[in-house]
């Protein structure tokens, strides 16, 4: 059954912790993160880095939660560099100071990707559910001053898309080499808050045009990348470059997954790096093989020439919107479930209150899922 020989994985996403000082409305961590207990030790991570490098991984993304909340981040960075991995730190910047950043650089850190929520302080702090914007700006300036290459990432959505011009200007002023304007995609917390975040088509098109012009104007100075929301794309994105084709995600408790949202698909059993070797997980585990190749596909994907480009889109989105992880991603206009996406486009209700990604709301969600009626 597992006859498909997978290519080598090229990147490892290490979610070092679910702890985070922010509560962003679109956080990519699972809704039930609060049930997680012990985080992997530095030894567990070091072993995983070495196993990943031996498998062919060259790039490591240290993320969370907020990875700076791991006191052993320097030790982890050294361990990764010892395996010759390219190390990208994905951070809110909250808790960064010059001594810490200098130590990380000395340990082998290659690059920092800093998240900003908006160009406007009040709006940024509203989305983050915390007063963090000013500290982030200070962190960005510190990174640039220390000549560490910096990418700024803005998650964009209805509440901030009208300010992409200002965001790009801010990124240039802060000395970023690249700015990503990545539309919130509706998984987990963002799906819960979709009515607040869903952009209008006109808003998206305007923002995209501004980004395109800025990309041209800033060519050679700063790279500008805009990623459209799946619901407005017409065709699905090649999510993760295909399931189990290039990326391994390890969550804070050691579960190995093909993508950061994979745990939202019920019925999948995730192997744990505490008890299994990464090579075995990559090649043989049922979860990494679940959606490899094309045999699992249904129509219209199965006979579609696009399947080799988009791999049927996102499995987590198919599960969330079509209740079937093997279905065509409903973001595709050819999907029989595409109408769920179309009707969500008009979803501009602000009657609901937004749900921040906090341990308390996560515990509420867990309780509701466990209650007999829920």
């Amino acid at each position: 059954m597992n006859s498909i020989q997978p290519p080598s994985p090229r990147s490892l996403v290490a979610e070092l912790t679910y702890r985070c000082p922010l509560g962003c409305l679109y956080c990519s961590n699972p809704l039930d993160f609060a049930k997680s207990r012990a985080e992997l030790s530095a030894d567990d991570w070091s072993r995983s880095f070495a196993q990943a490098a031996a498998l062919g991984v060259m790039q490591l993304h240290l993320t969370g939660g907020e990875p700076l909340l791991r006191d052993d981040l320097g030790e982890l960075t050294s361990a990764a560099r010892a395996c010759d991995l390219y190390i990208n730190l994905i951070t809110s910047g909250v808790g960064l100071n010059e001594a810490r950043l200098g130590a990380l650089r000395a340990a082998g850190l290659d690059h920092v990707q800093l998240s900003l929520q908006d160009s406007d302080e009040t709006a940024a702090d509203y989305v983050a559910g915390a007063g963090a914007h000013r500290r982030k700006l200070a962190a960005a300036r510190m990174i640039a001053r220390m000549k560490i290459p910096l990418t700024l990432n803005f998650v964009v959505h209805r509440l901030n898309l009208d300010r992409v011009g200002a965001m790009i200007d801010l990124a240039a002023e802060l000395g970023a080499r690249r700015v990503e304007l990545a539309s919130a995609q509706f998984h987990g917390w963002a799906l819960l808050n979709r009515a607040h975040l869903m952009p209008t088509q006109e808003q998206n098109d305007r923002a995209e045009a501004i980004a395109r012009l800025a990309a041209k104007r800033l060519r050679g100075a700063m790279e500008v990348v805009f990623v459209r929301n799946d619901y407005l794309a017409g065709r699905p994105k090649p999510c993760m470059g295909g399931w189990g084709r290039g990326t391994i995600v390890i969550d804070p408790t050691g579960r190995a997954m093909p993508c950061q949202a994979a745990a939202s698909i019920s019925g999948l059993e995730f192997p744990n790096v505490r008890t299994a070797a990464l090579g075995e997980i990559w090649r043989d585990s049922s979860v990494f093989n679940a959606f490899r190749g094309y045999a699992w596909m249904k129509e219209p994907c199965r006979s579609c020439p696009e399947r080799e480009r988009d791999f049927g889109g996102c499995r987590c989105q198919a599960f969330a919107l079509a209740a079937d992880a093997a279905a065509t991603d409903p973001a595709c206009e050819l999907s029989p479930h595409h109408r769920t996406v179309i009707s969500a486009r008009g979803e501009l209700s602000e009657r609901t209150t937004p749900v921040y990604r906090t341990a308390r709301s996560s515990r509420d969600i867990i309780r509701r899922n466990n209650s007999p009626g829920g």
């Binding site: 060259m58 990208n88 290659d110 080499r177 690249r178």
Partner: protein, 92 residues
């Protein structure tokens, strides 16, 4: 002549945060930066290896000419490749 074309006296080097390393999977060299591990063909890898901030573009071309093609072809290819790389801020 395109005003963006690299000058012969430019001494290119890899930008901060960009690394060249051998991919153990196939023994080929790849350029690593946060978004990608870029595959390099033999000529591209040879060009990048010489981007040490000391050699000028003209010197790089001189070293490669003969090995990878005629001087004219190498001069054109090297300038094009490094110009595109500079645009992406991978070399400076």
């Amino acid at each position: 002549m395109n005003s963006d074309a690299p000058g012969r006296e430019w001494r290119p080097r890899l930008a901060a945060g960009v690394r060249l390393r051998v991919d153990p999977a196939d023994g080929r060299e790849r350029l690593l930066f946060p978004e990608a591990a870029m595959e390099l063909n033999e000529t591209a890898a040879a060009i990048v290896r010489l981007c040490d901030g000391r050699r000028s573009l003209a010197e790089i071309v001189r070293e490669l000419a003969g090995r990878y093609g005629t001087a004219d072809a190498i001069a054109r290819e090297t300038a094009e490749f490094l110009g595109a790389m500079r645009e992406r801020r991978l070399v400076e």
